[in-house]
């Protein structure tokens, strides 16, 4: 019974955060593309971000991770530590970019919850098959 309610809670959380990520993206779509344009005026996206920036909502999660990283000046995957891209937000301090973090966390929550529920299902299936 506990597993059932835990599973339903995870499913609900996954769907809610996925829906939230769609809403955040839809609401900030113009700002998102402006941000991409601004960045590309001065820098070049390293791969795989050069791919993600072209695929709209499907690439919004890794792009939000990328911008969050350079905003906090933390090491970003596939971007050299000495890259001038880390200075991008130094000139754009006035910009409201809180929605990037919200988009990132909504995406990551939905993905982790999705993986958890699939693993829970797989564990139940394996248990029933090998330890009936």
């Amino acid at each position: 019974m506990t597993i059932k309610f835990l599973g339903i809670f995870i499913i609900g959380l996954c769907l809610a955060s996925f829906l939230l990520s769609i809403l955040i993206y839809a609401y900030n779509r113009k700002k998102y593309y402006t941000l991409l344009e601004d960045f590309q005026k001065r820098h070049v996206f390293p791969a795989p971000y050069s791919f993600h920036c072209l695929v709209g909502f499907f690439g919004a999660a890794p792009m939000s991770y990328f911008f969050m990283g350079i905003m906090k000046k933390k090491k970003v995957f596939f971007l050299n530590r000495d890259s001038s891209a880390y200075d991008f937000f130094d000139d754009n301090k006035g910009k409201s970019i809180g929605w990037i973090s919200a988009l990132y966390y909504a995406h990551i929550t939905s993905f982790i919850c999705g993986v958890l529920i699939a693993l829970l299902g797989a564990a139940l299936e394996l248990k029933a098959r090998f330890f009936p």
Partner: protein
């Protein structure tokens, strides 16, 4: 840039592969091999920008078109994925027993939402794996090569995650009697 290209083409793993598949010769001087002079490169670059270098804009344009195609394909794929459960739910609502309709709607639409979310997330992770794989076997990941590697990894991982998700969620629902 030319030094990096030379280094990549002369990598031991890629040496044979590139010679036969990409048809690069193992030139000592890549600039000479590409029939470019420093003056011509700098002139093109400084007067018309990076996009103006002959051939460069075509490659970038093709990559952009391919990515746009993938983006549209993704939306079309989601629409088709939505049509499947809708069909099942409608069938359950018209011919099923009482209570079957809402049960089927919960099962099918939640499965659709979960697999879409997991597919998109795994696609992002898959692009990094694809890029890592390309780097490991010596395929150039700068520019268009990186976009292609990321795209292949992303599509493969997204598809695999969607399928795994469908199976896992089905297993969970069956065991929980939902």
């Amino acid at each position: 840039m030319l030094n990096q290209l030379k280094e990549l083409v002369n990598k031991p793993v890629l040496k044979n592969l590139s010679r036969y598949t990409i048809k690069f010769q193992q030139y000592v001087n890549m600039k000479r091999a590409l029939n470019l002079s420093s003056r011509s490169i700098v002139h093109e670059w400084s007067t018309v920008g990076l996009g103006g270098i002959p051939g460069y804009s075509t490659y970038v344009g093709n990559a952009t078109k391919a990515a746009r195609f993938l983006k549209m394909g993704g939306y079309v794929g989601i629409a088709f994925s939505f049509a499947g459960p809708t069909n099942d739910v409608m069938k359950a609502c018209t011919v099923g027993r009482e209570g079957e309709c809402s049960r089927s709607a919960f099962r099918e639409y939640s499965k659709f939402g979960l697999s879409t979310a997991a597919g998109i997330g795994a696609g992002a992770a898959g692009s990094a794996i694809g890029l890592g794989f390309c780097t490991a076997i010596g395929i150039a990941t700068a520019g268009v090569g990186g976009v292609a590697c990321a795209a292949v990894g992303s599509v493969a991982a997204g598809y695999a995650a969607g399928e795994f998700m469908n199976w896992g969620v089905d297993a969970f629902y069956n065991h929980m009697g939902l």
